[in-house]
């Protein structure tokens, strides 16, 4: 007996395109792609970013970094420190200070060195902010931590290992600038993924929850 002679087909699947393996994330891709600039802190469907061990068909859906407002302290300190030598010179005109009685060649080298130190302080503060990145792709969550210039840690977990996502937003400044901490609990080797001081935490949690929902 031939198949189909006695029983009619109830459901015949349509020919689906080969590369639609991640349809569950289609609603997230409806948002237009965004180019990341140097000071981006929150970017949905970012373009122009890639990370180590990224798979060919893996797309970054969410890019998170600390809110730019968290950089204000080091920017302020750097500005104040860079104003110290000119202020000392002005002060020296009115009240002669012992510091300026040192030989001129020492003074030149010292001032250049001083500005190099101020510059490197600002530069390290910037790259610490710049390289502390959290990414959410359609397959996993990637957390890149960079601090104290000699420490960096790259942690990843698959979306199906995520158990819970929540956020906290406390304090006037955080509420005013709309940033907070997002916590991701996983069943993987690393139990916690903390995305600290990220902008729009509610939206970040919502996007991640939608992805988990699509996976589970």
């Amino acid at each position: 007996m031939q198949r189909g002679d006695s029983m009619p087909d109830i459901f015949i699947p349509e020919n689906r395109p080969v590369n639609d393996t991640h349809d569950e994330n289609a609603h997230l891709k409806l948002t237009k792609e965004n180019h990341i600039h140097a000071l981006s802190s929150f970017c949905q469907n970012p373009v122009g970013i890639s990370f180590q061990n990224q798979e060919e068909d893996e797309e970054v859906l969410l890019f998170l970094r600390r809110h730019f407002i968290t950089n204000i302290p080091w920017i302020f300190i750097s500005l104040v420190l860079s104003l110290v030598p000119p202020l000392l010179f002005i002060l020296n005109i009115k009240i002669p200070i012992l510091f300026f009685s040192v030989p001129e060649n020492f003074l030149i080298v010292f001032i250049v060195f001083y500005y190099l130190v101020v510059f490197i302080y600002a530069f390290i503060s910037f790259i610490t902010w710049y390289y502390n990145i959290s990414l959410v792709t359609q397959k996993r969550v990637v957390d890149i931590d960079f601090s104290d210039i000699v420490y960096h840690d790259v942690a990843m977990t698959k979306l199906n290992l995520i158990e819970d996502v929540n956020y906290t937003q406390t304090g006037f400044i955080r509420s005013f600038f709309n940033y907070g901490d997002v916590f991701v609990q996983t069943a993987g080797e690393k139990l916690h993924f903390d995305f600290l001081a990220v902008p729009n935490p509610a939206n970040a949690v919502n996007i991640t929850e939608n992805l988990i929902g699509g996976r589970k």
């Binding site: 890639s50 020492f106 080298v109 250049v112 510059f119 210039i149």
Partner: protein, 79 residues
């Protein structure tokens, strides 16, 4: 311990040379530190790439290394 007598020229020269070598030692350490910073920026750019900013940061850290090394050479000559 007797207080330092700055009218004594030999003593001033000795202080100046101690200051010079101390400063040069600090500058050598700073050059090594600048190299570590440059290297870390390169490592981080391999982990996460966001062109063109990644390239700009590498260039800045390299220029910083060059300036630090130049300052060391400059100090060797003028101090």
């Amino acid at each position: 311990m007797t207080p330092l007598d700055f009218s004594n020229l030999a003593q001033i020269i000795q202080i100046a040379s101690i200051a010079k070598y101390a400063f040069l030692a600090i500058l050598i350490l700073y050059v090594i530190f600048a190299f570590v910073v440059f290297n870390q920026v390169r490592v981080m750019n391999r982990i996460i790439s966001t062109p063109p900013v990644s390239v700009i940061l590498t260039i800045i850290s390299f220029l910083h290394l060059i300036i630090a090394f130049s300052l060391f050479l400059f100090s060797l000559v003028i101090l």
